[in-house]
Amino acid sequence: MPQIFRHSTNYLARATIFGAIFILLAALWVAAEITRSGWNTGAYIERQQPIQFSHKHHVGDDGIDCRYCHTTVETSASAGIPATAVCMNCHKQIWADSPYLEPVRASFKTGKPLQWIRVHDLPDFAYFNHSIHVAKGVGCSTCHGRVDQMPVVSQTNSLQMEWCLECHRAPEKFVRPREKVFDMEWRQRNSSKQEIEEGQKLVKEYRIQVGGKNGTGVMTSCSTCHR
């Protein structure tokens, strides 16, 4: 009886075993990439807002401070979205009859609030607080990117736990002097010795509770963010 399979098929069978391992690893890698991609995290996705509000105009061109609109960013967990009345402070006078501002005027007249679509949205099981980050010298642009150049705000970071921890484990790379918190141009420290030392000085000055070498400590404890 002739053999169905040649002898060389054995090598193929053996190669398949290793091939299977590679395919498995590749599948894992693809899965990991997908969870980190913008498709999953919502990064760089522009949301259709009820009004074409542009940070580029208001912050970049007109130089309005973040706190004029996001009033509670230094005192509360939430940065706050400005009330209709805040827009009307200016838009009663300027661009008072722009068609783009019709929803704002309608809201002011009827008392019905504007309904913005959330761009940054942590799941409800994670706790986040703006006030402590601002107080300890973490700037808006570190987390939100160059908002002053965005006609439409989009998320520039994944906001995944991995990302939070990257900073919580080594805040010296990211903290800046307090007066620079609202500065959109501040660039992240590079890893040169001098810049890291500057950062470490600030970490000490702000008494940031970085953990020990093995990651114990408030900033990396699960119950800090999952409470």
């Binding site: 009033t71 509670t72 967990a77 979205i81 019905k112 949205d121």
Partner: protein, 198 residues
Amino acid sequence: MRFAGIFARKARCSLAKKFVGDAGKAKPFRTSGGKAAHMDNDRHINFKLLRDHILSEPPAVAGGQKYWRHLDELADSPVFEEFVRREFPHAAEEWNNPVERRTFLKLMGASLALAGLSSCVIQPPEKVIPYVKQPEEETPGQGLYFATAFSLGGIATPLLVRSNEGRPTKIEGNPYFFASFDSGALRSRSFADTALSR
């Protein structure tokens, strides 16, 4: 040895019944069908006999009701001894039953897979709705406390109310009021709960 045991059991579940049992080449240890019947009976007997046994205790006699302090005392009978020995008769049997064990695995597999799926859902877009005119004393995201009072049987009970974005989220007795120092605080707290739930 352990492996041998597992294979033997496996054989008993599937192969034994299909090939070996039917062909009669070798006798399986026990056939599944017979096992199941026996088990059903067993379950019944256990509980029924036990209940009958307890209920058939003679009621109050001259010496008064017969009490028992622990199970050993009550267990002074072969029926109960048998029951205690096989503490979980159902479960003990079910793992050997090929049909039920497989359905169990199938169901668990399916529910695990589905539970995994539920975490793959991307959150739907949420709205963020600011005030039209923000009240001056309000900080969104932070509670605002009011000292107020609640009329209870015509008497004002001092309360401390926390409000988040205009909704009352916690009502308690005002701890700074002298009369609500200890029990008063608790009392008004519990009454406040009733007030909230109304």
